[in-house]
Point group: C2
Chain length 339, copies 2
């Protein structure tokens, strides 16, 4: 497997990204093309990887431009043909890499993926999935922000794509739930009411409506929602987790007794943090494009980048797009609906 | 102030509800009418309040029917004219109580409130607000589930009503944020894009778009969203808080060291739990009806019921509906929009 890594994106700079790539290479023997400013990347590699065996599995592909984190994605992609994220996806398009990974501007990564690789046949709207930790095994939620105004066909196809991704992650017959505001059939807004029968008639393992409180229970493998709702869920969860930790920390700081207690229990806190850490989950896959792409959090550490590279390799190796196409072919094709 | 309490609703039975009413009466001298099965309520009062001074401020209004927690709200309200929640709102309609409180079937409470009291003049859609704890002072979110398919006019009016409620809670010039998926103007779905200019032109203290992660930061006093998104936010938050506590508990149980640590720090955990406990916030006000109503969580404890009764008294005393009508009158009337 050969992964193209946009080595210019992310909040922590190229060094962090390259460190992640080197870990992935060392651990699994995957090959990585670092895409970005050649001299800059070379100098980092010399510092980080004096080991020639590792260096052999890494190569550099020069690109002269970068998309800034706050640039308008569509405009940036149109103007900067030689941006690192564009060149990374171009390697996939030319068959020189099996997947692309970027921690840069998320919108630009999505736009570059669609521009360079095109939509997968039959898919109306590519989208972004994300993995949430739960009390049991992780759950895949889709869409988490790419598509804010959706039709039932889009939600239905998110279910197909997220199911394929869940299978790649080792879940045999992923249970699919439709995110709404009541468990009974017929509960929800008009979009949900239109989507429900499509999922019910499909060959997917549809278990019905799920509520917000089910997200973290772990009884569902795939949660389907539009990108507006999904993004708000993701951000509310991140915000609540941060705020709760801060509130608890404030209370602990108020007494010596509690501080000592915290010190004694800190391994438990660490284990808990690791369990809910996004970095363990290897980024958010861009699904529905004719190729494999992963969008990483801007603040990804080298550990998160390593996991994203391994996840990308797994998606390419498992041929996720073949699974999606097969699934659309067996009774899950609803092309008669308006796209 | 005189509050009508539906004494038949809630998961814990009438005794818990009456205990809450007695606390409210003792602490503040508010009067409470308990609505429900007379002999049942009388027997509880005899056990709970042998004190005749307290008992004087409590009276019982008989009702022969109850709406079950899982009944269809609209059908139940139509058939059970003598349901406790209907009789409670009827006391408000007849001027015999200043507000009604129920911990029963939420949908039925909403339907009964609208049926008995009618919509407030100029309000297209009554809705439900909820208070969320944050790192600073609490934030009011509206709507949290009454209206799942909304137009911009509805969201705009939620902002007006939630602002009035925030003022009742002592916030002088509540800062209003529109919940969406990016801070920049123009980010969001079509509903958000239509609502933004209405809020911008209004006399409300509109501070712009807010994201999911801003909910718990405490830099905003009012968050506006449709009931589908609001309900999912509420349930995701409740679900995450529960799951996180369970995960942390699991980790702590794994070692003696951590268990001892937890025991030493348990006051901090308790203080944290109190800070985020819904019971502290007095239920969810039903806003936009021509009167005052509060919907409590089914699992409300007596402490939560007491706080809800006090909140209802505060809303009635502060004349929240006068504030809403005044606010609609001064340049916040957008009646030209389709209701």
């Amino acid at each position: 497997m050969h992964i193209a890594l946009d080595a210019m994106g992310g909040d922590h700079g190229s060094e962090e990204l390259i460190a992640g790539a080197l870990c992935a290479v060392k651990e699994t023997g995957v090959r990585v093309s670092l895409v970005g400013e050649e001299s800059l990347l070379n100098s980092h590699i010399e510092t980080l990887a004096p080991d020639s065996k590792t260096a052999k599995l890494i190569n550099i592909v020069h690109s002269s431009q970068v998309v800034g984190m706050n640039e308008n994605p569509v405009n940036a992609i149109r103007k900067k043909k030689d941006a690192s994220v564009m060149v990374a996806f171009d390697l996939v398009r030319r068959g020189e890499a099996d997947a692309a990974v970027s921690a840069g501007n998320s919108g630009a990564t999505m736009a570059a993926g669609i521009r360079k690789l095109g939509r997968l046949g039959g898919i109306a709207r590519p989208g972004i999935a994300s993995i949430f930790p739960t009390l049991k095994r992780p759950v895949v939620m889709m869409d988490i922000g790419a598509n804010v105004d959706c039709k039932s066909l889009h939600l239905f196809q998110f279910a197909v794509m997220a199911t394929a991704f869940s299978r790649i992650n080792g879940v045999e017959n992923p249970r699919v739930g439709l995110l709404t505001i009541g468990e009974e059939t017929g509960k929800g807004n008009s979009l949900i009411k239109e989507t429900y029968p499509l999922l019910e008639k499909s060959s997917l393992n549809f278990v019905g409506n799920v509520e917000g409180r089910d997200v973290f229970q772990g009884n569902i493998d795939v949660i389907v929602c539009d990108g507006f709702v999904g993004n708000i869920c993701l951000k509310v969860s991140e915000g609540l987790a941060e705020a709760a930790m801060q509130m608890l920390g404030d209370e602990i700081k108020k007494s010596w007794r509690a501080k000592i207690g915290y010190l004694l229990a800190r391994h438990a806190f660490k284990a808990f943090k690791k369990r809910v850490d996004y970095a363990e989950y290897g980024g958010a896959p861009l699904l529905g494009i004719d190729g494999v792409g992963i969008i990483c959090h801007g603040k990804s550490t080298s550990h998160a980048i390593k996991n994203a590279i391994l996840a990308a390799a797994q998606m390419a190796k498992g041929n996720i797009n073949r699974d999606i196409l097969d699934s659309l072919a067996v009774g899950n094709n609803v092309e008669h609906l308006e796209m």
